[in-house]
């Protein structure tokens, strides 16, 4: 919303030394956010009134004249001009060197310099209206015409003064006004300034309606939607242009001047926030207004020839024939004010916010009227609008005459009444304020206040009683903001250390993330919860159980993830353009259809699970399989959680036929790991590399209450470290070997698996390391050899292993 400083000053006398910047700052801190302060004069810099003293034909150009012009400087200046309406004595608009003008009203403004035109020097330019932002004030009759100021102004006077554009505009963020219907007009903002600066707010003059006027027939069918309707029929209002000051005010508040009748309705709306509408009275059939819901098949033709299909929820203003206008939003073509209009029916009404919001859906954009009604305006404001409009009409149309008046007022906005204990204010404000400070602020804001028995009994002003202020907290907020929140000292938080913050589950998640990032070298990624169906298909996952978005960002993104793996596949494929080998992981929630009550039985949500999923990308498939297995095996120890184990169970849809395992916790499968299948990689456009993935349900992991590392005595006598390489059949697993000798040796560790030249076909060599010894005696070399032989024999018996010869 744009607010004019000049306009505000009509209602509150702001001191001249108060800068616009300061006003903007104070409003921003206390009332609404001022986004910008615009000096309107700026664009008229160096554009002044000139008086033509002499006009001569240009010797070298038929269409150009040489003018000698008085521009208020010591000597008259010479300006070359092509205008068709130049004459001696004419007051014109001169852009001096340094001014910016828009050539022929088109394009970016250009700076004026001293120049020569066809050999004759020219000090600036005599301008047409469009060239210097004056078209609203001096509409040009032809393209070659320059502005004729008709003798107004004195040479040298800045043109902005002449057209009342010497103003400052505050650009206010509409979002900061959503809860304040009272601020959608200059008078409301002026009231705030009067409170902030402790200045009187001028009262608006009333207009007394003659009670003996004939009655205009008004009928309201739905009194919930239309709470008040006033229709005033006025004759002898022949269409004419608005005065300069009014045009300027409208322009600065962001509206184009049209004609005096329309301008008055807009002016009143911008002044007091009450929308008005003027019908040409001859277009209202039957001299009657009916406010009702539209019928199912009804249509309304708008001013721009657009026809809207109405619904039963839309409130319309009708005459005896049918709809004239969409209530509170737009007028129709039929009722419009034309150049031939001589009489009007003026509508000042109150429509409820929900009905306006409902009908706004018919259009993409809000109107100046609907944006105000949708904030919920009080019904008393009709009086402000009515008085101001009628005062203006009677002053500006001398022969105007009110011929009929009709009013229906079924629902009146009642003022809210609130009791506020002094103690409540003392505690919540964190500061004890004097009674008269509080009363002064509230009264200035329009509250009635009575203080009795330590209680403020307040009656809220009617313009704040439509939802904005209804609780003592609202009133407390009003006091605090006017004093400025800045004036309250920060207070320490209350201290209550009953127990330390210990949240094992929260900590476990962090340990896992840090383990993966810092110890295992994974990079954490964030992706969107909606998944491209292409990657879901690539992972061979089905979408029957997927939760879907009603209006997804794109049609292929409707499914919410049931697994993090499709997102990982997409990320891998994108990053392969820049990296050959990398590790990534993500922690996020996944969703599936189902029933779950997070907070209350009446709310049924789909199933949520928090998943942790990661992958390693590299050409060497075998290497990354064992690497990712190591990552999972290390989790137990490094993240202090109950042991997860690995076991081959059902193959995950995305996994290679030869390399997959399930992740288990206490006999329950909580995740999977494995190499990504050739088919999945092909569909996910992952080329010339391999991917090892794991995914597990983080919710299932159980953090240890404390650390479980167990101390064992450090051996008194040194242990002997030994390596052993045995040759076994290909199908003998490490698990078979290790379970055979575990318990017979200490610290058994797998070193290497080898197949190759020295190893017979169908066999493999397994090397492992272990320690021998006890705390009773130091082993002799004979004892060690004996022990080694026993181990080899045992392995030979259990898995037909034999010693690999070096």
């Amino acid at each position: 919303m744009r607010v004019s400083l000049k306009w505000l000053k009509k209602y509150v006398e702001l001191p001249n030394d108060l800068t616009p910047k300061q006003i903007a700052y104070d409003l921003t801190l206390r009332t609404v956010e001022v986004e910008d302060v615009i000096d309107v004069k700026e664009k008229y810099n160096n554009i002044v009134v000139g008086k033509i003293l002499e006009v001569k034909q240009h010797p070298n150009a038929d269409k150009l004249r040489i003018c000698i012009v008085d521009i208020g400087e010591e000597e008259p200046v010479q300006i070359v001009c092509g205008g068709s309406n130049l004459y001696v004595g004419e007051h014109v608009v001169v852009s001096k060197p340094g001014a910016y003008v828009v050539w022929h009203g088109e394009g970016e403004p250009v700076k004026i310099e001293k120049t020569k035109m066809r050999g004759e020097s020219s000090y600036g330019m005599i301008c047409g209206a469009e060239e210097v932002y004056l078209d609203a004030f001096y509409p040009a009759k032809s393209e070659t015409e320059i502005v004729d100021l008709e003798g107004k102004g004195t040479p040298g006077q800045n043109i902005s003064e002449l057209v009342c554009m010497d103003d400052t505009v505050f650009e206010i963020d509409n979002k900061s006004l959503t809860n304040r219907p009272d601020l959608w007009g200059h008078y409301g903002i002026a009231r705030e300034l009067s409170v902030i600066y402790d200045l009187p707010l001028k009262e608006l003059p009333k207009y007394e309606i003659d009670k003996n006027l004939p009655k205009y027939n008004v009928e309201i069918k739905d009194t919930e939607k239309c709470r008040r309707y006033v229709g005033v029929e006025i004759e002898n209002v022949n269409i004419k242009e608005s005065p300069m000051w009014m045009k300027a005010d409208l322009l600065n508040a962001g509206m184009r001047p049209i004609n005096l009748i329309v301008d008055i309705t807009n002016y009143v709306m911008l002044a007091v926030g009450q929308p008005l509408h003027a019908f040409d009275r001859t277009h209202v059939e039957g001299n009657q207004i009916i406010v009702r819901n539209a019928k199912p098949s009804e249509k309304l033709l708008l001013l721009d020839d657009q026809e809207v299909q109405l619904t039963e929820n839309d409130l319309v203003i009708c005459d005896t024939e049918g709809p004239l206008a969409l209530a509170g939003i737009k007028g129709g073509k039929k009722d419009s004010i034309l150049d031939t209009t001589t009489g009007v029916l003026l509508e000042i009404a109150n429509f409820s916010a929900p009905t306006i919001r409902q009908s706004e859906k018919l259009f993409d954009e809000k109107t100046d009227s609907s944006i105000r009604y949708e904030k919920n305006i009080d019904t008393e404001r009709v009086d402000l609008g009515l008085s101001m409009a009628l005062n203006m009409i009677s002053e500006m149309f001398e022969n105007s005459k009110i011929v009929a008046y009709g009013e229906v007022y079924p629902v009146k906005t009642e003022r809210e009444v609130i009791d506020i204990p002094q103690e409540f204010l003392d505690i919540r404000l964190g500061k004890v304020l004097e009674q008269n400070t509080i009363e002064k602020i509230l009264k200035a804001l329009g509250y009635d206040v009575e203080y009795k028995n330590n209680i403020y009994h307040v009656t809220v002003p009617v313009w704040r009683s439509t939802g904005d202020v209804s609780l003592k907290d609202d009133v407390m907020g009003d006091i605090a903001r006017i004093l400025s929140y800045q004036s309250f000292e920060p207070k320490p938080l209350p201290v209550k250390f009953e127990h330390a913050v210990i949240q094992p589950k929260v900590l476990l998640e962090r340990r896992l993330k840090e383990y993966l990032a810092f110890r295992c070298g994974f990079t954490e990624i964030y992706t969107y919860p909606w998944i491209d169906v292409k990657y879901i298909n690539a992972a061979r996952m089905d979408t029957t159980n997927s939760v879907r978005l009603a209006t997804p960002p794109a049609p292929e993104l409707a499914n919410l993830r049931t697994s993090l793996i499709p997102g990982l596949l997409e990320t891998v494929s994108k990053n392969l353009r820049y990296y050959n080998s990398f590790k990534i992981y993500e922690v996020a929630q996944v969703f599936e259809k189902g029933e779950y009550h997070e907070s209350s039985e009446d709310e049924t949500l789909p199933i949520h699970k928090k998943y942790l999923s990661g992958c390693i990308v590299d050409k060497d498939a075998k290497k990354i399989f064992y690497e990712i297995k190591g990552v999972i095996e290390g989790m137990n120890t490094y993240c202090h959680m109950e042991n997860i184990t690995l076991e081959q169970m059902e193959k995950p849809s995305w996994a290679d036929i030869n390399a997959y395992l399930s992740i288990k916790l206490n006999d329950e499968e909580i995740g999977t790991m494995g190499l990504v299948s050739v088919a999945t990689m092909a569909d996910a456009k992952i080329k010339r590399t391999n991917v090892a993935i794991f995914e597990l349900n983080l919710d299932k992991l159980i953090p240890l209450a404390s650390r479980t590392n167990k101390y064992e005595n450090i051996p008194v006598l040194p242990l002997v470290e030994k390596d052993l390489s045995v040759i076994v059949d290909n199908n003998v697993t490490w698990e078979t070997i290790s379970s055979t000798i575990n318990g017979k040796v200490k610290e058994l560790e797998f070193i290497e698996e080898y197949k190759g030249e020295q190893i017979p076909e169908g066999k493999k060599s397994i090397t492992f390391r272990f320690k021998l010894g006890n705390d009773e005696t130091t082993l002799t070399s004979e004892q060690i050899n004996e022990e080694m032989n026993r181990l080899v024999k045992l392995l030979n018996k259990k898995c037909e292993a034999y010693l690999r010869e070096e």
Binding site: P354, F522, E524, Y528, L549, L605
Partner: protein
């Protein structure tokens, strides 16, 4: 005899000085102080001397022995300190061996930092599920029944529920604030907790707008606290993120779930409050809303607004991270582009 001794001394000193390795020096030591050394030879002839001569020569040999001992020790010290474990000098400018190159997402880093700071003030960490209902996302929070955010175009509603109402109309949560009521219903008051998380809005995406973003919200609920206590929470966030005290201001702002509500601005760090392009020349940047928990929200959480009050703050982590690191495109956070993420080690 004296001359011979002098010769032995000079020759010995020269030998010591010329030794280049510990091994050579050991040889020299043997030669000079062993049984077959020149001095030992002389000592053997001492018997044929007069007592005076014996005394004099004796003194001289002792002196030479001492000189040798000192010189040998000095040389040994010198040679050891010049000894290297390396066979030859190495290129010290070659890079060191890389440590693990993993990294937490910059937004994770940010909220871990904030969690730590708030934990020190006794705040717990809470999280709500990503999908919520209109009841928790709007109704409980005092949003008007026809608030625009409830409409299709602003929130991601779940297919099949979009035309229902309240507890039956589900959405990807549009903000975190709904979680506050969930926590209070579960744990009651007094309470102090933070609840970081992703939220989702149906928006057009560009360098300044995202459909998913990370918010960080903190709430304290207690008896008899003043709104001015909330300032400590704001300062905690900013000091933790920027590493120093940041000037802030609180100004009037409207949000349905607070009364009174504030917009909180921080002094622009680019120009230190003097005014620049970044802060649109007013010296302040709007960074977070906050305010006193609305009585209707307390009622939704089953708490008596006459007894309890509280203070919310809510901050967008992307915005803070963008200011902290100078990032100019919000979409990078969810690009999963390693070229971006690896910069935050």
């Amino acid at each position: 005899m004296k001359e011979k001794l002098e010769q032995i001394k000079q020759f010995g000193i020269k030998q010591i000085e010329e030794a280049k390795t510990i091994e050579e020096l050991t040889e020299v030591r043997k030669e000079l102080t062993g049984k077959k050394s020149g001095l030992a030879e002389i000592m053997k002839t001492m018997g044929s001397l007069t007592p005076e001569e014996r005394k004099e020569i004796g003194m001289q040999t002792t002196e030479i022995k001492n000189v040798f001992a000192t010189k040998l020790d000095e040389k040994e010290e010198e040679l050891i300190s010049n000894k290297s474990v390396l066979d030859e000098p190495i290129d010290l400018t070659l890079p060191g061996t890389k440590t693990s190159k993993g990294v937490l997402h910059p937004l994770t880093q940010m909220y871990y930092d904030l969690n730590d700071a708030f934990a020190s003030l006794g705040f717990e960490v809470f999280s709500e599920d990503d999908i919520s209902s209109e009841k928790y996302a709007f109704d409980n929070l005092n949003f008007a029944p026809d608030h625009p955010a409830r409409q299709m175009m602003d929130t991601y509603w779940i297919e099949g529920t979009e035309d229902k109402k309240a507890n039956e109309r589900l959405c990807l949560r549009p903000h975190l604030t709904g979680a506050s009521v969930r926590y209070l219903l579960k744990h009651g008051a007094p309470a102090r907790f933070v609840y970081p998380g992703q939220v989702y809005r149906n928006e057009d995406v560009d360098s300044g707008h995202e459909r998913a973003f990370y918010q960080y919200e903190a709430l304290i609920v207690d008896k008899n606290i003043s709104f001015s206590s909330g300032i400590v929470m704001i300062q905690t966030i900013l000091e933790k993120v920027f590493g120093r005290k940041i000037n802030i201001r609180m100004r009037e702002g409207f949000f349905p779930f607070v009364e009174p509500g504030y917009e909180i601005d921080m002094e622009c760090l680019v120009c230190n409050g003097k005014g620049c392009k970044v802060c649109k020349h007013n010296g302040w940047l709007e960074i977070m809303p906050g305010g006193v928990i609305h009585p209707n929200v307390l009622k939704s959480a089953g708490l008596d607004p006459e007894e309890w009050t509280g203070f919310y703050i809510n901050i967008g982590l992307e915005r803070l991270a963008m200011m902290r690191y100078g990032i100019d495109d919000v979409r990078l956070f969810r690009s999963a582009d390693l070229r971006f993420l690896e910069q935050f080690k």
